[in-house]
Symmetry: C2
Subunit: 522 residues, 2 copies
């Protein structure tokens, strides 16, 4: 819009530069905001007594029921050495043992380094970082429908994440490139994150040697910067170590965790729970079990490498008690989220949970309502690492192009919410009220003129025009506007600079490693 | 579903009794829950210092800027008698005057009586009541599109509100029946609420004599029950007295307020604010102005009739600083909502705000996201009277059939959220965790069997089936399922019983009054 006219007149938006220009401006602030430090309180649903009860129950689970560490003799020996009781593969822990191991060495926050240092994310404390969804074998867009994801889709989503000012990482397995062999696709995924974005990213966890490849590629990407001045690796990846709930860790995840911990890379230890299937149907039961499993996993990481960054994760949703299908965006998991965030703060570790979950197959009203019903609690609860913020469809089976940009827009709103209330003199605006007085309007007053550009979050996707104007522009749904938006974004994408020598070294590493063993889909 | 099979097997839902039966069961609990008493804390964004600052600024506005009371000499005389300074129509208040008038006599909560006493709503305290949207001249459904509302639409929405277990009033001007003359449609609207629902409702505010008709019709409907044992009218209506922000009340609203207050009917005093037009563009400025206006209005009601129920209202949204169009579901109004709820609690009066706002013209993803971004704050902030919860489209210009049932479903989720975390032994579920143990599943355990029917909120509208099953059922959007749902609801509607003598008396009153003056559209 032309600044000289100011905001006074409501004007028709034009199909050309007008709307497009405004939307681009709304979506992409010039200044990089690498993560958000909250200026609003946490929302907490339980009091001290309730939280202490859940913590005590978690200790009871660790002491009496135990956690299985499967197919990993080294892990069992680590636990024996630490003083736990090992019965076969079942480990039982004296009350308080896991908590004290974690609190003795786990950092309360850490810096996740990006190749653009302006994008380094401080994970933990009062900070929130929004991260794309993770792990879908399918993609969906309104033009081509639902289909298996490819490496091209993967690259597209990395580009969209890079361009979204409210997403702070480019993600991890942003979708599964199923056109590539299972045992080699991690090379191409990591390369995509390194090449097409300069935001922080996540490493491979599907096998210990793939975790090692992730570390080795970071050594190439960061060169001398891989180590700090004391020769200790900096943290360049925050990777996803899921428990096989209930109360089980398997050798794949344990193996990846050991590689990452020994290289000072961060592990998010997440019990993956659909309440009613992997945990009891109740909020308090699910919370206690999640805490027990997460503490066992985080304590294991600290025993492997004291001081390595760990994040407490909670993925909790419910199932339909009628069909057994997973459900998302319902109220019970929101309560679990508030409780778990509180428990993580009490433990003293960063917290990962929430996102833009939905059960819907398409970016419709169900998808939007369910995502908001998770993303608002994610924001208010105090999630530090908000995985699955953008793109999630169909219970995580599909990554949606339209959903991705819709969710990123919602994350932008949450970033504004986290900034809280400006109580400065300008924020109080008493002079504006004095200037305008009863019965007049504020559109042209000097305070409005001075503040209108930054006063309100500007969505690139919503339509607030009159019915008649909206109709004359084709009666488009949000989904249709989102479809146009992601295509425009991709058409305007420009890659961040990458030193050609590093690029070449990465390509050579990948070619060499790929030649060392045959393709396999296991 | 058949109980004998339990929840263990995920089964295909059938098009016939299976799904329909479950959905009906999910949507309509046998037991009446007339309102929700929260068991979760309030979410508060400002601390004592911030709240005190806003309160001080509101007093400054009342003292220095003042509030206009237009075209109502009686109102000005009331203010003179109370000790305010009256300059023309502008009233200025000594600091603390309005607050102390309110706190001297306004009740902190009151019973809004319904003709079915099991549906009486206690407004205030820790209680929340969800109420349909209000005032739209248009209606929208997917079959017929957008069109002017009629009395048939009005009746349909009253019926849908009556059938929705999570809506606690049938509303007020649930849409404008524009097929009836402006000066007589209030008779038909009130009659519809009285006839087609037994939930509480709201009265007419568009002229003092229409407020009096509302009171007189309640006298017929409630008969001897209109007065309590001391001869004082009970409260049967909670009606909407809007300020003409900024800082103005007009004679229409003041006239209606006087009628209601003198009959002990509740007034919701609501500054209607689009920040940037009727208030400053900032959260703190909007909150201070809203508090000032609402306090002046509530104090006026208390001067007219000490002890008459008043509710502090806040309708705050923002405008697009690019086009001037109102915007909804954005983060700044959510912050205003949290602040205002807190200020109402400190003042000691019930609070009205929020709902299911959106700027979208249709029940799409924009509508759903924006509604959720308002309804979750409505719930967490502690709104007592959540007007506009269901049906709101297009910035309030249209009442949507699909949106109505989608919003009512979301309100159901909020009711579950408000219940909080069950910390009973059954809620803790330690025995279930002991019984199941590591690596097994909870689907068939005795705790799940005992709790599965009530464990999770069951939406009648969301689809959580597999992609293949969803596709085989026609790839329906949430909007399409909502379309089928409201039609099914209307087809199954059964009117609550109404004493035929009372019904006849109401009809006769309306016929007599309608004959007393000519139709007019003013």
């Amino acid at each position: 819009m032309s600044d000289s006219e100011g905001p006074v007149k409501a004007r028709k938006s034009r199909r050309g530069g007008g709307r497009a220009g405004r939307r681009a401006a709304g979506g992409a602030p010039a200044e990089i905001v690498p993560y958000i430090t909250r200026n609003i309180p946490y929302y907490e649903v339980l009091d001290e007594e309730g939280l202490a009860l859940i913590e005590a129950n978690a200790e009871t689970i660790l002491e009496e029921v135990g956690i299985e560490f499967r197919d990993d003799e080294e892990a069992l020996q680590i636990w024996r050495d630490a003083g736990a009781t090992v019965e076969g593969e079942l480990v039982k822990f004296p009350r308080g043992m896991c908590r004290s191991i974690i609190q003795a060495s786990a950092p309360s926050e850490y810096v996740h380094h990006a190749r653009n240092p302006a994008r380094n994310v401080v994970v933990g404390g009062k900070n929130t970082a929004f991260v794309p969804a993770y792990g879908s074998p399918f993609v969906y867009d309104m033009d081509k429908g639902r289909r298996y994801a490819t490496i091209e889709d993967f690259q597209n989503f990395v580009k969209l994440a890079y361009m979204a000012p409210s997403l702070h990482l480019s993600g991890g397995t942003i979708c599964e490139p199923v056109d590539l062999p299972v045992n080699k696709r991690h090379f191409d995924m990591l390369y995509s994150h390194m090449k097409y974005s300069d935001k922080p990213f996540m490493g491979s966890v599907t096998a210990p040697e793939r975790a090692q490849d992730s570390v080795d590629m970071c050594k190439i990407l960061f060169g001398d910067d891989f180590y700090d001045e004391n020769g200790k690796p900096k943290t360049f990846m925050t990777s996803l170590i899921n428990a096989n709930s209930p109360m089980t860790f398997d050798d794949t995840m344990l193996g990846a965790a050991k590689v990452y911990a020994r290289n000072n890379q961060a592990c998010v230890v997440t019990p993956f729970i659909l309440a009613g299937a992997m945990s009891p149907v109740t909020v308090a039961g699910t919370a206690a079990q999640t805490l027990a499993e997460a503490m066992a996993g985080m304590a294991f990481v600290q025993l492997v490498a004291p001081g390595a960054p760990v994040v407490m994760g909670s993925f909790a949703s419910s199932i339909s008690m009628q069909s057994g299908a997973p459900t998302f965006g319902t109220p019970e998991p929101a309560l679990v989220l508030y409780v778990m965030a509180n428990l993580a703060r009490r433990l003293g570790v960063p917290f990962r949970s929430g996102g833009g979950f939905c059960g819907s197959k398409i970016p419709d009203a169900q998808a939007a309502a369910e995502a908001a019903n998770t993303l608002v609690p994610t924001t208010l609860a105090g999630v530090n690492f908000a995985l699955h913020t953008a793109g999630w469809l169909e219970g995580g089976l599909a990554m949606g192009y339209e959903k991705f940009v819709m969710d990123a827009d919602q994350a932008g709103m949450m970033c504004t919410l986290l900034k809280g209330v400006d109580l400065s003199e300008n924020g109080q605006a008493l002079d504006a009220i004095r200037e305008v007085g009863p019965g007049n309007h504020f559109l042209g007053c000097s305070h409005t003129q001075a503040n209108f550009k930054t006063a309100f979050y500007l969505s690139p996707l919503t339509d607030n025009n009159s019915f008649e104007q909206w109709e004359s522009e084709g009666s488009k749904t949000m989904e249709q506007r989102a479809n146009a938006y992601w295509k425009k974004q991709l058409s305007e994408y420009q890659a961040p600079e990458l030193d050609p020598a590093i690029d070449q070294a990465l390509i050579e590493y990948i070619e060499r490693r790929k030649a060392e063993f045959p393709d396999s889909n296991i």
